[in-house]
């Protein structure tokens, strides 16, 4: 158990509404990531963080913002949700040294109507 909790696990919302997904870790690891998973695309990186208030964009960052005000929490916000953002979102942490693997949360399924 990597100590990662994602919330909410399921959410249905309407186009144009803001949505925030939360990733919480219990072990104070420095690196945290947000991915989305879509059929035919695998997992694609949205944003990542390498410390408190240190974040950077991934390959599919448009329409998303993140914040990390505490080591344990990494928030993903969709300012104005669109149907193309219907997806399963995964948070991951990287606890090890540079060669370390990622550990994933259980995912948050978001449906935008």
């Amino acid at each position: 158990d990597a100590g990662i909790t994602q919330s909410p696990r399921h959410k249905v919302t309407e186009t144009g509404t803001p949505v925030t997904l939360r990733c919480h870790q219990t072990e104070n690891h420095r690196y945290m990531y947000w991915y989305r998973q879509d059929p035919g695309h695998g997992l694609r990186l949205i944003h990542y963080s390498y410390g408190v208030k240190d974040t950077d964009k991934g390959e599919v960052s448009d329409g998303y913002s993140v914040s990390r005000s505490k080591t344990e929490d990494f928030l993903l916000t969709l300012e104005s949700a669109t149907s193309s953002q219907t997806s399963v979102y995964f948070c991951a942490i990287r606890p090890g040294p540079n060669t370390g693997e990622l550990f994933f949360g259980e995912g948050s399924r978001l449906t935008v109507l």
């Binding site: 695309h41 540079n98 995912g107």
Partner: protein, 115 residues
Amino acid sequence: AQSVAQPEDQVNVAEGNPLTVKCTYSVSGNPYLFWYVQYPNRGLQFLLKYITGDNLVKGSYGFEAEFNKSQTSFHLKKPSALVSDSALYFCAVRDESNTGNQFYFGTGTSLTVIP
């Protein structure tokens, strides 16, 4: 740019037979390669990784992977498949060139083990 490719969307194998899930990679530096498994409605679970050293890497649940530099491949293997191995498998490569050491994933291969 770093990338991995999984050429097969679906692999079917009979229980007890050996299985192979294919992955090829493209990296500009040292290849740091990973395999993950995903069961329905769950997050990804780490299986094994290649960083350096022996080309044959052993991992969880009896899986192993063979790193082949000349063919730029990192195929996942298991000598005898179980029905419980049926899942979605992802290959990934880590990019050392940026601050976050980003991981790039393949599109996944769905493995079905037939009883």
